[in-house]
């Protein structure tokens, strides 16, 4: 069959993409103190600025621990988006200042991806950030993007952590300070570094009963000033001990068992061992990152058109090795729990199945499969979390690995006997927040894309049944399926 080539492949992406709806000189993602300050500074200098923040996120997303580890301890107030929006303005008077300075502000607006041309892609009309609210998604072009996405909770698995009432310190702080929507009454805090004691003092000051702090190391880890403040309260500090399990009932956590044998009655266990800089967007756009144990983990390396401010650029460096501290917790929690402890809540992957690189329970495990493990996989090469998540499904769920990504890397490091920094970071992929199909959808697709959309490459000879080649059916096939292509 003769094809008439025109030098143009209609089915290629070239020139068919939707254009961004707007263009800003600066887009700031995250309206916390650092993001707002960056936006105000730029606006005062005459820059056209868009400031977006995903909060308030929907109650459904909060239930999936997005963006923070809320652990199901929100009150019904979080279902009322107008009240939540009001609460944000009340708690952040700087937002008014920003708007007065000329910053365009969009709350309840998620930045789900940043895209620019580079290796492997040259088809974007300009660099864009993908945005979405609760009705639609759209693209915005920018000259410079400042990420002020903060830090997220680092979660840890122990028996019973997969029930309501186990939550993160950043989530607890947000519920207490911004939304006044914390549903717990009596909390036990894991950790004793600055984050843990700050959280304990905040909760105490808001009238939440703090049942104690649990510290795996022999001594409290916080700064002397914070330790002194803690000493002014009657909050107990359990040293040299770890949590072994959370007991609970229909409403979630009822008590925590400690490795020293104590049982602490509480309705909430707040994991305050550490925060992780929120680098999802940076990583998903293939911008550089580096590991800095003193600043909470992987942080953006920074580049000319992408900057990071606030906690997402790295936690304040105080000389504390966050990675060593986390690893010590992970070791203790592993030593004090059985291998059937769930590591990935979304996909219900146990530690045994993670370390055994076993498939999910809906698949058969014949003898050869059972004989495989991380140990046999390591004979082929270094541990790679992306390979292990494909096999075990750990990190493949609706929370997008927010709850288990870091834990999986730590467990692989421990099991492989390698430093944490040698285990690659499991990739972040857009959308960096779960987004419903109907909201993500481009309902105004350019005609050039619609007209030439093919299921595969639009090569007229590719799918002709072998029996039809050289018969009349070959021409019919092409006429029916590839009209207008290559002619």
């Amino acid at each position: 069959m003769e094809l008439n080539f025109t030098g143009t492949d209609l089915c290629a992406i070239n020139g068919t993409r939707s254009a961004p709806e707007a263009h800003y000189e600066l887009v700031v993602v995250g309206a916390g103190p650092s993001g707002v300050a960056a936006a105000i500074d730029a606006a005062k200098a005459g820059t056209k600025v868009l400031l977006v923040d995903e909060n308030p996120v929907s109650g459904a997303l909060m239930g999936n621990d997005v963006p923070l580890y809320f652990g199901g301890r929100m009150t019904a107030a979080t279902q009322n988006s107008e009240r939540m929006l009001e609460a944000i303005f009340m708690s952040m008077p700087e937002l008014e200042t920003a708007m007065e300075a000329g910053v365009e502000l969009l709350l309840g607006t998620t930045a789900w991806g940043v895209y620019r041309n580079g290796p492997g892609v040259a088809s974007l009309p300009e660099q864009v950030v993908g945005l979405a609210d609760n009705e639609r998604s759209w693209l915005v072009g920018f000259d410079h993007i400042t990420l002020a996405t903060g830090a997220r909770d680092l979660s840890f698995a122990f028996p019973g952590w997969n029930q309501p009432g186990v939550m993160g310190a950043a989530a607890l702080q947000m519920l207490l300070t911004r939304y006044d929507a914390f549903a717990g009454r009596r909390i036990l805090i894991l950790g004793s570094h600055d984050l843990a004691i700050e959280t304990a003092l905040l909760a105490h000051s808001r009238g939440v009963e703090v049942a104690g702090l649990v510290e795996v190391r022999g001594e409290p880890q916080a700064s002397p000033a914070l330790q002194a403040k803690l000493a002014e309260t009657d909050i107990a500090l359990h040293r040299g001990t770890a949590i072994t399990s959370a007991k609970g009932g229909i409403d979630g956590v009822e008590s925590a068992m400690l490795s020293n044998g104590e049982e602490v009655v509480c309705d909430t266990i707040c994991v305050a061992i550490g925060l992780v800089p929120s680098i999802e967007l940076v990583d998903a756009m293939h911008s550089g990152r580096m590991l800095d144990p003193n600043r909470g983990g992987y942080i953006p390396a920074g580049e000319a058109t992408v900057s990071a401010v606030g906690d997402c650029a790295g936690l304040a460096a105080t000389g504390f090795d966050h990675i060593a501290y986390r690893m010590e917790w992970m070791q203790a929690l592993t030593a004090n729990s059985t291998d059937d402890t769930i590591i990935c809540q979304c996909e219900e992957v146990t530690r045994a199945d993670l370390i055994g690189v076993q498939p999910p329970n809906y698949l058969a495990r014949p003898a050869p499969m059972c004989a495989r493990s991380l140990e046999t996989l390591l004979q082929d090469g270094p541990a790679n979390p992306d390979q292990i998540k494909r096999l075990t499904r750990a990190g493949m769920g609706v929370c997008q690995g927010r709850r288990c990504r870091d834990q999986v890397a730590m467990l692989l490091a421990l099991e492989a006997g390698k430093p944490f920094g040698t285990i690659p970071l499991a990739t972040h992929r857009a959308p960096v927040r779960p987004l419903p199909m109907k909201i993500m959808a481009d309902w105004n697709e350019p005609e050039a894309m619609s007209a030439a959309w093919d299921v595969w490459f639009g090569i007229p000879t590719q799918w002709v049944p072998v029996e039809d080649i050289g018969t009349q059916y070959e021409g019919e096939h092409r006429q029916m399926l590839y009209t207008g292509m290559y002619e």
């Binding site: 096999l391 595969w456 059916y473 029916m480 399926l481």
Partner: protein, 378 residues
């Protein structure tokens, strides 16, 4: 040639299947991969296994239902497909293809809107109808590539990862060794199944293999309620419901690119996700509220006619080159068998694959990529 060494360049699904087939015949096999097995297109595709256009079709259909048992590891293979038409034009096209299947003896059934809704609980009344293929199916690409790799190892084959091939040694009209940066692997025969890197590797042997790489994208949702048949697509999308329930779909425009000798520098996805999302929301409206949780891209090499190249060369005469031209995953049980036959017997035992010979491009014009518009965007 039992007992001799075959080195396979490329641990994608085609190379791994070929290695597994050779190991089953008692051949000592070493598979060299630049990174981790199945890391490129083999592990990130739509998982379809219904390639009626191929001379390997019958063998593909014969083997897939047995693969879990033959390999000893789960592939998540599931039978049958339903293709749903969302426009009048698609309805016309899909019925045309159904008619061809009927004539070729492939069992198909045309479904009206009501029958589509009965067979596909996530479909709506917004479709024109569908075609039920009572053949074909789909499997999990990631799990299947690892299954081939492990099965090959269980038969004594070796897999060497993180080892890009840098060149060959030749003597007496044969390749005698394959080289990586650190090691030279002596061999009696070589299979070059390195996807987009094939042209650069084969150029070292003085062989011109016309292949053009391109990037394509997919999306996946959170799990949906399980449908009785997971192999549902149409609306010019390809994809499937996984056994976990996630909806994984791709289709639409591709981007022509160039790759380095050691592979693509990156595999970025783009806002094309939004166009995939709108089509999938139309195809399966009762799933339109579900969250998209990931997107990704892969790099695929394409031959000038879009058909595979599976050929044992005449000089050097111990080299088999194998590119599936962007449609390799589903055909892998059969392509591996064919490659095994070419390596050991010099001819495919179960199908006439002469149409897949490299020599069909002997008179190809040198500007074939430009003529087709298959050039990277400058």
């Amino acid at each position: 040639m039992s007992g001799s060494d075959v080195v396979i360049v490329g641990g994608g699904v085609t190379g791994l299947s070929a290695g597994w087939w050779l190991a089953r015949s008692g051949v000592k096999v070493t598979v060299l991969d630049k990174f981790i097995v199945g890391w490129e297109a083999s592990g990130r595709n739509g998982g379809g296994a219904s390639h009626y256009q191929s001379p390997l079709f019958d063998e593909e259909q014969r083997l897939w239902p047995q693969m879990d048992e033959l390999l000893g590891y789960p592939t998540e293979h599931q039978k049958e497909r339903i293709i749903i038409a969302m426009t009048e034009r698609q309805w016309e096209q899909y019925r045309f293809v159904a008619e061809r299947h009927h004539r070729l003896g492939h069992p198909v059934e045309v479904l009206d809107v009501k029958q589509v809704q009965e067979a596909v609980p996530l479909a709506g009344d917004n479709c024109f109808g569908g075609v039920h293929y009572k053949f074909g199916g789909h499997a999990n690409p990631q799990r299947s590539v690892q299954a081939y790799a492990w099965a090959l190892q269980d038969l004594g084959g070796k897999i060497v990862q993180h080892s890009p091939v840098t060149g060959f040694e030749t003597a007496g009209g044969k390749v005698t060794a394959v080289k990586t940066a650190t090691t030279t692997y002596g061999c009696d025969a070589v299979v070059v199944a390195a996807g987009p890197q094939i042209p650069q590797l084969m150029a070292q042997l003085g062989i011109d293999v016309p292949l053009a790489p391109a990037r394509a994208e997919m999306i996946i949702t959170e799990p949906a309620p399980m449908m009785p048949i997971g192999g549902v697509d149409g609306h010019k999308l390809y994809g499937r419901q996984t056994m976990r329930g996630n909806l994984a779909y791709g289709g639409g425009p591709h981007e022509w690119i160039d790759v380095d000798a050691t592979g693509p520098k990156a595999r970025p996805s783009t806002p094309l996700m939004r166009n995939l999302a709108s089509r999938l929301a139309e195809l399966l409206p009762k799933a339109a509220h579900l969250n998209i949780i990931r997107s990704w891209a892969g790099v695929i090499e394409n031959s000038p006619d879009g058909r595979p190249i599976i050929d044992r060369l005449t000089s050097p005469d111990n080299v088999v080159v194998a590119s599936m031209s962007g449609v390799g995953f589903g055909l892998s049980p059969a392509s591996g068998h064919a490659i095994r036959d070419l390596v050991i017997d010099g001819a495919c035992s179960f199908a006439n694959i002469d149409m897949l010979k490299l020599s069909r491009f002997d008179n190809l014009e040198s500007d074939w990529r430009q003529k087709r518009g298959w050039m990277p965007i400058p």
